[in-house]
Amino acid sequence: MLAHYGYKDGSGEYFIIIDTDKCDGCEECVTACPVGVFEVGEDENDPFREEPVAKVSEDHRKKIKYSCAPCKPVSGRKSLPCMNSCDPDAISHSW
C-alpha cells in the first residue's frame, strides 16, 4: 500500500509516502529523522497485517511542510535522512 501522509495547499504539495509492502518495520527512519516524524506500529489501514509498519505520527500529518523544513531543497541537503536510512526504499516524498 502506498500511504500518503500530508496534504496539498495553496503553496504546494507536502506528502511523505510510505510503501508499506516494502517496509519491514526496522525503525531506522525513526532514529534517522531529526524531528521525529516517523513511528513504527500497527498498520491502522490494514487490520490483517501482523507485522509493524512505519507511519507518519499523528502530530506531524497536518504540518509536514513545517516539520520537514530542515530537509527542504533550499536548506542545501542533497538527499533526505529518512530516505537514506531506509534500505528497502520504502520512503519517498513529493517535493
Partner: protein, 290 residues
Amino acid sequence: MEKEYWRWPESKWTSSDIDWKDGDIISAGVDVGSVSSQAVVLIDGKLYSYSNFRTGSDSPESAQKVMDKAMEETGLSQDKIHYTVGTGYGRVNVPFAKRAITEIACHARGANFMYGPTVKTILDMGGQDCKAIHCDEKGKVTNFLMNDKCAAGTGRGMEVFADLLSVPIEDMGRLSFEVDEEPEPVSSTCVIFAKSEAVGLLRKGWAKEKVLAAYSSAMAHRVVELLERIKVEKDFAITGGIAKNEGVVKRIEAELKIKALEAKHDTQIAGALGGALFAKALIEKERGLR
C-alpha cells in the same frame, strides 16, 4: 422557529428478506464521523439493517444511538451481535466495539461491497475531510491520500452554504444547474473565504443558483486536484454525504471525464459497512475459520 436549511435527511433501513435469528454470524460496524454517524448490521455477510444520523456532541452517545436505531423494531439486541468494529474519527469512542479500524480501510472495504469488485478508485467526501483511495478487487487498500486540513469539499462546508443561501441541502445540487451559463468558480475554496466571497456576489445581485454553481464547481475542482496525485482509475465511486449532491458530483465527473458508479444504498454507510465486513472476517478468524 427558523428553518434549518442545513438539515439533511437521516435514514434507516431494514431488510425484509432476512431473519437475524437464522444468522450464524452477526456483525456490526459503527462509523462515528464529525458530522454524521452510521451503524450497519450484517447477517452472515449480508446487509440486514443500517441507520444514518447526525453526530451529537458526545461520541459514545451518538454511537449508541445509531446502533439502537439500526436494531430498532427487529428484536435484535447488542448482546446478540458477535463482533462490532468502530470506525470514523470517533472510532475509539465506540464503547461497545471490540476493535477500531481506520475509515480508509473501512471505506475501501465498504465500497467494494456496495459497488462491486470492479471499483478501483474511491473518493470519500465526508463531513470534515476528503479521502482518495485505491483498492484491489477484494477491497484492500493499495494507495490512499487524505485531506483533513480544511473543510473545502466537505459536508460541513455544504451545510454552511445551505444556511447562507437559505436553500434546503437536498435541493442544492439541482438548483446549482439552474443557471444560463456556468459562472467562474469562486476563487477560494476555503469555506470561510468562500462564504464571504458568496456574500459579496449576492450583494452584487447574483442569483442564489449562480452562487451555488460557482461554489459547487470550486469544490469539484478542489477535489479533482486532490485526486491528481493518486490518479483516477476506473471504476470510480464516490462515497459520503456529498455523493448525494449532484451539483458537485456531476462537476467532478465532467472535470475527470469519468462517470461515478451509481449507489444502491445510502452512500454515507460505506465506512460502517466496511467495519461490519471486517467484524465478520475477525469473528471467522477467532473461530478458526480463516
